[in-house]
């Protein structure tokens, strides 16, 4: 036997200091964006739309509600890049303003859903039997309403401001997150690490916030990511049948509705908002799928 070091040569990677190891968060980003090209593409497109929605309306030469009867139903031109609609309004300006509506509906509903769902789920799981029963029965009732019909009802009662549309959509979506959080916490709080924290003298609130909630965030993030396109979808559908945001504020859904009336003669009016909806929805679907793959430990490939 040849002489050599008793300790076998170790690959340098294994000797890397602990501080160099990827944190779970960087690991997530790597799995999400570098290993999943579709998710990365989705994220890029969403970012593009978000930037366009944010700054676009400041740069367009026409106001989204400005009507010009000399130029109705014009095709794309240098003055109107995407043409004009039935009232001579610039389609590009309306599309960008519509992007603001769609994206803010998507994001703001999920912020509300997250806040309410996390609170209700946490209190139900950790607040004792009485509160749990009370909150879960409340969730059952909210869940019993058929969602889109209930949104229509709320919309009819409280009027058509953008904020009310957002509240109505958030109202039917929060139950999913609440149930998810409750279920996760109920199983997590029986784990040893929760017991360990308790025996070290951590308070209930500290255990909930520092130990339990961070551990159930994965599925919650996935649920919220899927909730964004659902909310955009709901708003577009409502606006399409004429009970979404109030005109002249444009929504992609109401733009499709406006254009549909002249679809035989001027298909380009319908085309722009239709493509915008489809592209944004597809991007969110890819991103959410990527998030689920990256966050769900069971389906790691």
């Amino acid at each position: 036997m040849r002489g050599g070091p008793l300790i076998p040569a170790v690959e340098t990677e294994d000797l890397a200091p602990v501080t160099d190891r990827q944190s779970p968060r960087t690991d997530l980003w790597r799995r999400l964006l570098r290993n999943n090209r579709l998710a990365a593409a989705g994220a890029f497109v969403i970012l593009l739309f978000a930037v366009a929605a944010l700054i676009g309306p400041f740069f367009v030469p026409h106001h989204y509600a400005h009507q010009d009867y000399d130029v109705i139903y014009q095709g794309p031109s240098s003055a109107h890049w995407l043409g004009t609609d039935a009232l001579g309004r610039d389609i590009l300006s309306r599309l960008l303003q519509g992007a603001r509506v769609s994206l803010s509906v998507g994001v703001v509903t999920q912020v509300i859903v997250l806040a309410v769902g996390l609170t209700v789920g946490t209190v139900a799981a950790l607040g004792g039997r009485l509160l749990d029963n009370l909150l879960m029965r409340l969730t059952d009732v909210a869940y019993a309403f058929p969602d889109l019909l209930f949104i229509i009802l709320l919309r009819a009662v409280f009027g058509g401001s953008l904020l009310m549309v957002i509240f109505a959509i958030a109202f039917v979506q929060w139950t999913t997150v609440a149930r998810l959080v409750r279920g996760q916490l109920l199983s997590l709080k029986e784990h040893d690490f929760a017991l360990a924290a308790r025996s070290l003298g951590a308070s209930d609130v500290r255990i909930a916030l520092r130990h339990l909630l961070p551990n159930c965030l994965g599925p919650v993030i996935v649920a919220v990511a899927f909730g964004v396109p659902q909310a955009i979808f709901a708003e577009a559908s409502l606006s399409f049948i004429g009970i979404g945001v109030t005109p002249p504020l444009p929504s992609w859904g109401s733009m499709v509705q406006d254009g549909y009336q002249a679809i035989f003669a001027y298909p380009h009016v319908v085309l722009a908002p239709t493509i915008a909806i489809a592209v944004v929805m597809l991007s969110f679907t890819f991103l959410s799928d990527g998030l689920r793959d990256a966050l769900d430990p069971r389906i790691r490939h």
């Binding site: 209930f150 009662v157 009970i243 499709v256 679809i263």
Partner: protein, 305 residues
Amino acid sequence: MAGYLLRRILYVGPVLFAVALVTFLLMHAVSGGPWDSDKPLDPVTVANLNHKYGLDQPLWQQFLTFIGNALRGDLGISYTNQGRPVTDLLRSGFSTTATLGLLAFTVAMCLGLTLGMVAALRQNSVLDRASSIISASAASTPTFVLGVLLVVIFSVHLHWLPTGGWGSPKQAIMPAIALATLPVAYIARITRASMLEVLGQEYILTARSKGLREQVVLLRHATKNALIPILTVAGPMAVSLVTGSFIVESFFSIPGTGRLFVQGVFARDYGLIMGATIFYAFVVAVVNLAVDMLYAVVDPRIRYG
């Protein structure tokens, strides 16, 4: 099992009561009433109408009257459809909505299961990629966008299908496709994931290694177990197809309950809205109950205590 079933059935009552209460309060928070129109009626007529329909009574009394009647199967009358009973309207509308929903459900299950199975059995092949792209696109196309596209292709350019209405099989094709698209994507994705998970299990390896034919392994061992998660989403999906068809119904002018409800909301028809909401909540509760019972049939491991 019997005890669990009984508890679940008894539980439906309070939920429906709460739904009725919330809807009732919401409807009365709306400014304006069913007698509003472009030509204002004179106050005496309004008072007479209110008296005839019991709208001059205190709110709690109106609500209790409604609940009492609802328990006997009477959901009141519609204020806008010549005072017809709401149950009548719902019955005629629901057969349409249910037919459309069932059609879409069948399409979604057949197409979704096929797409998902093919994708799972040929994982990472071209077929799998194609199936993924089809279902991702289907999941990202709002119903009305698809409706617009279908009408442009099949009505405007090809003149094959009528743009709307209900009654002939031809009129049902586009609405059924538009309604089924989202569920197809959903079922296909769940089926693929579920099949892949089951195929990785050790009992599949066991079945193969004891020499069972591949057909038997796939059908008896894999598919049967893969069905459980699919069933979980199929129930709520069936519900959403029946309750969520109002966009398709409005778009293709189909006289179903969804369009009825939308018209009711526009006309502030309290009677119709109350009745329809209770009816929908009832359908949701019954279907969810049926699905839970079905689990126990498909998966003997599930026991309800």
